[in-house]
Symmetry: C2
Subunit: 595 residues, 2 copies
C-alpha cells in the first residue's frame, strides 16, 4: 500500500499548527488550528481537517486513523461486538479480480447496542448524560474563546450562547434541535454538532460514478475536502466496489460520513428500481451501519399521493433517491417500503446511532418548481417521520432544497421550523437562478448564505460542475471554500459571538500591509498568495505598502495611514472631530428640488 | 493599426444572432440577442455587447464604432460644436516618444450645450419630452416581450411595470429615480437606463495601473467585459497615457463609460494630493466631458468634520478618491474643493449631460466598519448634493458600500432611499465577509444579489483579484458572469415580469436533455460546454439522457420521464392525484414525542 500514500495531501496549512484542548468532564484532546499572526496573539479557529494537517502525524491509509472514541464507548457500556454481516459479492457489484478494490486490510468486529437499547446521543441527552462527544463539540465550538464581544446580529429566533457549555449541547440534543452524527462503529471520528444554535456547517459530496474513480482518489477527495473545511462528507458512490471504497473512506475519516443507502440497494438489483425490496434495503442499512456510516439519507417522505403533484413541474423529480422511490411506488401501486417500514429503520439506527437525514425527494429542480405543493407536502411528512424517529431516540435532520429564488427562501426555513419541530435543517444551496451552469457554486452560495442566516444548520456544497459533470479535485476545493465563506457570512449575520474575530484579524492585517498574515488568515492562503504574486512576485513586495490594484500613489490604505499621522501631528483626531463637527453649512438643502 | 485587430474578440455567442427592433416614436434600431432553441421559439435577451457580437460587423478600433446618436442630437438642437480644449502633455502624464500611446486617429470637434442650456435627459424628461434615448431603453428593457406572466416576487417598494413604455422611462427620469448616462460626446453609445424600476445592471471596472497595460489591452478588456454582459464600464486608469487610452476606449464603447476624474487630476500634480487645485480638477472635468465620459464619480460627500469619524475604524478610508480628498482637506484645513465648487461642477455636467455618480469616499473597508457614523454622515451629504444637482437638471446616482455583513445590508438601502430621495443606488458588492481573499467575487455576489433585490439599481462587480492585484482577462470574465447572475437573482426576486423566461427555458432544456440548449441559454456557454466535455467529450454525449454526475441508472430526470410515461399509461397523473390523495395515514403523528 506504500505507493498509495503520496496521493494523500498532508501537512499543516500556512502559518498554522495543530493544538489540542483538554476536556474538564472527560479525558479529551480536542484539535484546533492555531494561525500565527505577526505582532498579534495567534488566532485559534475551528478545524475539521483531522490528523492530516498535523506536522508529523504518521498517515497510512491502509492502517486508518487512530481510535478516538473506543474508550468512550467502552466506558458507556450497553454495546457488544459481534461478527457482523458477511460481505457479499453483490455489495461490491460483483467486481472481481483486478476490478475488485481490495478490502480494507484491518477488519474489526462491529459494535451494536445490547438488546433493544438506544445508544444514541439523543438517548443519553434525554437521560441527562453529558457524553464525551458532547463535551468535545462544546470545546470545539468555542474555538478557544473565553469571552464574547458585544452582540451584533439578527438571529431569527436562534439562541447562540456566548460560550457553548457541555450542558447546553446536551440540552439542544435532547430538544432535537441539534445532532451529533456519530455511529458507534466510526471510532475514528472527531465529533461535531449540527444545529442552528451552533456554527453553520458545510457538507461536501464525493463518490465515484459510472465513470470510474479509484479508492485512492475517493480517500484523497475526502482528505482534500476536509483540509479546506468540510464538516461532513457524503459518499454518494454508485457503481462497483461501493462497499470496499466506503470502508477505506470511513476508516480514514475524522468527519461524519453520510450515505444514501438506496444507491447501493439499487446497484444490488441491477439498477432496476421496481426490483427493490425492503429486505434488500434493510440488509444494506445493516451493512452500512456496521461499517460506521454516521448518517443515512432516507427518502421516506415521498408518498404515493404526492407523485402526481409533480406532473406539471418544469423539471419533475430531481432527487435521485426521490425519483427511484417514486418509480417504485408507481410501479407497485403502493406506499414506499421506506415509509411503511420507517419504524423498523429507526430500530436499526438506534442500535448503531446512525442519524437520519430525511431526504427531500421532491425538492424543486428549477426556480419554476420552488415551494410548490409537492415540496411542502413532503416536508410535512418529514415532520411526521421526525416525531416517529424521536420517539425511538433517533437523531434527525431534515434535507431541503434545491432551486429557490431569493424571495422564496425564507418560507422554506419557516415551514421547516414549523412542520419539523426545529430538527436541524440541511439544505443543498439553494440555487437562486437556473441560468448559470458552470457557476452554480455561486448561484447557490447566495441562497446558502441566506438560508444559513435564517437558521439552516448545515449547507451541502455545490461545485462548479453541478448539472454538468463529476467534480474533480479543483471543483471540490472551490465548492468547499465557497460554502465555507457562505456559512461564515451566515454566522456573522446571526451574531455568532466568535465569528468576527477572523474578519477583524484579517482586516487589521490588510490595513497594516501585513500581506503574509492576510493570506494566512484567509480561507485559502495558497490561492490568495498566488493571485498576489501574479503581478507582484518578489519577496520584497510582501512588505510593500500597496499592491498592483492601485499602485503606491493611489493606495487608499497607505493614504489613510498618512491621514492618521497628519491628524495626530495636528492635535489628535478626537479633538478635531469636535472642532469640525458640522462646521460650515455651505449648502442649504433645496427641498423638493428634484420632484 | 491592422495588427491590433486580432486582439479584439468579435463574433456572436453560440447559437445567437443579433436582431434589431425599431422604434415607434423615433427612428431607432435597438439591438437584441436572439438565442435559438431546438423545438422552441427563440429567446430574445438583453444585449449590452454592441456590434462586436454581430456576425459580420466591420470592427476597426482605429475607426471606432458607428455614430448612433449624432442625428438625435442634431435634431434636438441646443448644442454647438467647438474647438475644445487642446490636449496638454500633462493629460498623458508627459509620456512621449515610444512611451506615448498614439492619439485616437479620428478627431471630432466636441459638442456642448448652447449658452447655459441643460441638455440632460433629466431636463428633457422634466419638459415632457421623450428622447430617442428614452424610447431606446424602453424597447431594450422589454426584451421583445409583449406580455407579462403573473407576478411573483417581493419588490420592497419598487414598481416594475408589465411592459416598459417610453413615457414610463421619461417619468422615472423626471422623478430622479432613474438615469440614462449619455454624454452628448459619446455618440457611439447604445443607451441604457439605471433605476430600481428597471432590470438590475452591472458595471465592470477596467484600467491600467502603475503596472503597465496597453491601449489595446484596455479596449479588449472593455469589449470582453460587455461580451459577457457588463452594462457600463468604468475606466479607472491611473499612470501615463490616461487621456489617449480613454479616447480609444470611448470611441469603441457602445456602453456608458464612467471615470473618477480625480485620478487623472492627481496624476497631473505628480501624485501629491495636497497639490490638487480646483482649477486643475475643473480642467480635467472639461477634458473628460469633451471626450464623452458618461458619468463621473465625484467624492464631494467627504467633508472635513467627517474625517475624524474614521479614526477608530479597523480599515480607515478605503476609497481611493475618499482618501485623496481626506488628505487634501486635512492638509489645507478646509472643506474639499469638490464640495465647495459642487455647483460649478453641476454647471459643467449639465452642458454635456455627464451624470453624477456621487462617490462614497467613506465606505467601509471591512465588516467591522460597516454602517458606521462616517459612512452614514457622508450618505446624508450625498443626499444634499443630489438636490443641488437635480436643481441644475443633472442626472444623479449614489455610490454605496463596500464591506457589509448580511444583517446590515438592508439598512444601507433603506437609508439611501430615505436620504437620497430615491436617486438610483450603485453599490460595490457589498462583501459579506472579509475572510476569503481570492474569492471576493463570491463574498460580494452574496451581498450584491441581496442589495439588488432590495432596490439597488446597478452593481459594481468585484473580481477574484480584489485586494490582491490587477484583474486579468479571466478575472474580468469571472467577475462579470458572477455579477450577471447576482443581478438576475435580484430581478427574479423583485418579480421582474420577464426575468424567469430564461430560467424556465434553460430548465426545460435540462429536463429534456437538450444539452446544447442548456449550454447556449446559460450566461457562459463556453465554460458550461467545456465542463460537460471534460468527462463526456463525444458529440453523441450531447444527446445522452444522462451526464457523468449520476450516470444513466441514477439520472433522476431520466427516471422522471419514465414516471410520467408510466403514470400516463396507467391512467393519467391527474386522476391518480385524486385517487391517491392522502390515502392511508399509516402513522399517527406522535405529538410531543421529541420534547
Amino acid at each position: 500500500m506504500k505507493d498509495i500514500l503520496p496521493t494523500i495531501t498532508t501537512g499543516p496549512l500556512p502559518a498554522s499548527r495543530k493544538i489540542h484542548l483538554p476536556g474538564e468532564i472527560h479525558d479529551l484532546s480536542v484539535p484546533m488550528r492555531e494561525i500565527a499572526i505577526s505582532g498579534e496573539t495567534p488566532l485559534v479557529v475551528y478545524d475539521s481537517s483531522g490528523p492530516y494537517t498535523c506536522s508529523n502525524a504518521p498517515i497510512d491509509i491502509a492502517t486508518g486513523l487512530g481510535d478516538v472514541r473506543g474508550g468512550w464507548l467502552q466506558a458507556r457500556g450497553e454495546i457488544e461486538a459481534y461478527d457482523g454481516r458477511p460481505v457479499a459479492a453483490a455489495d461490491n457489484g460483483f467486481a472481481s479480480g483486478a476490478h475488485l478494490t481490495p478490502a480494507f486490510p484491518q477488519r474489526r468486529r462491529p459494535l451494536r447496542a445490547v438488546g433493544d437499547r438506544a445508544v444514541t446521543q439523543l438517548a443519553y441527552a434525554r437521560a441527562g448524560i453529558i457524553t464525551p462527544e458532547m463535551e468535545f463539540v462544546a470545546i470545539r465550538e468555542n474555538e478557544a474563546r473565553r469571552a464574547a464581544p458585544p452582540r451584533d446580529g439578527e438571529a431569527f429566533g436562534a439562541e447562540l450562547p456566548d460560550l457553548v457549555t457541555p450542558e447546553f449541547v446536551r440540552a439542544e440534543i435532547a430538544a432535537g434541535r441539534a445532532i451529533i452524527p456519530a455511529n458507534i462503529n466510526h471510532r475514528e471520528l472527531e465529533p461535531m454538532i449540527i444545529g442552528r444554535n451552533f456554527k453553520v456547517k458545510i457538507n461536501a459530496n464525493i463518490g465515484n460514478s459510472a465513470v470510474t474513480s479509484s479508492m485512492e482518489e475517493e480517500v484523497e477527495k475526502m482528505v482534500w475536502a476536509i483540509r479546506w473545511g468540510a464538516d461532513t462528507v457524503m459518499d454518494l458512490s454508485t457503481g462497483r466496489n461501493i462497499h470496499n471504497i466506503r470502508d477505506w473512506i470511513i476508516r480514514n475519516a475524522p468527519v461524519p460520513i453520510g450515505t444514501v443507502p438506496l444507491y447501493q440497494a439499487l446497484e444490488k438489483v441491477g439498477g432496476v428500481a421496481e426490483d427493490l425490496t425492503w429486505e434488500i434495503f434493510r440488509d444494506t442499512l445493516i451493512e452500512q451501519a456496521e461499517q460506521g456510516v454516521d448518517y443515512f439519507t432516507i427518502h421516506a417522505g415521498v408518498r404515493l399521493h404526492m407523485i402526481p403533484m409533480t406532473a406539471k413541474r418544469v423539471t419533475g423529480i430531481v432527487s435521485r433517491g426521490g425519483s427511484i422511490m417514486a418509480k417504485w411506488c408507481l410501479h407497485h401501486h403502493r406506499e414506499s417500503f421506506l415509509y411503511e417500514h420507517f419504524e423498523e429503520i429507526c430500530e436499526i439506527c438506534r442500535r448503531y446511532d446512525v442519524s437520519f437525514s430525511l431526504g427531500d425527494g421532491l425538492r424543486p429542480g428549477s426556480i419554476a418548481d420552488a415551494n410548490d405543493e409537492a415540496q411542502f407536502a413532503e416536508l410535512r411528512t418529514l415532520g411526521e417521520l421526525t416525531r416517529i424517529a424521536w420517539a425511538r431516540d433517533c437523531q434527525v435532520m431534515i434535507e431541503g432544497p434545491g432551486h429557490v429564488p431569493l424571495h422564496k427562501i425564507k418560507a422554506n426555513m419557516d415551514e421547516q421550523l414549523k412542520h419539523c419541530h426545529e430538527a436541524p435543517f440541511y439544505t443543498l444551496g439553494p440555487l437562486t437562478t437556473d441560468i448559470a451552469p458552470g457557476y452554480d457554486h455561486i448561484t447557490s452560495a447566495i441562497g446558502a448564505a441566506m438560508i444559513g442566516w435564517f437558521g439552516t444548520a448545515m449547507l451541502c456544497y455545490v461545485t462548479p460542475k453541478e448539472h454538468l459533470g463529476l467534480p474533480d479535485r479543483d471543483d471540490v476545493k472551490t465548492g468547499v471554500i465557497t460554502y465555507k465563506l457562505a456559512a461564515h457570512a451566515a454566522d456573522l449575520a446571526k451574531g455568532h459571538p466568535g465569528a468576527q474575530r477572523r474578519d477583524d484579524a484579517l482586516s487589521r492585517a490588510r490595513f497594516d500591509f501585513r500581506w503574509e498574515d492576510q493570506f494566512n488568515l484567509g480561507l485559502d492562503p495558497d490561492t490568495a498568495r498566488a493571485m498576489h504574486d501574479e503581478t507582484m512576485p518578489k519577496e520584497a513586495h510582501k512588505l510593500a505598502h500597496f499592491c498592483s490594484m492601485c499602485g503606491p500613489k493611489f493606495c487608499s490604505m497607505r493614504i489613510s495611514h498618512d491621514i492618521r499621522a497628519e491628524a495626530e501631528k495636528q492635535q489628535g483626531m478626537e479633538t478635531m472631530a469636535a472642532k469640525f463637527r458640522e462646521g460650515g453649512a455651505l449648502y442649504v438643502p433645496a427641498e423638493g428640488a428634484g420632484q
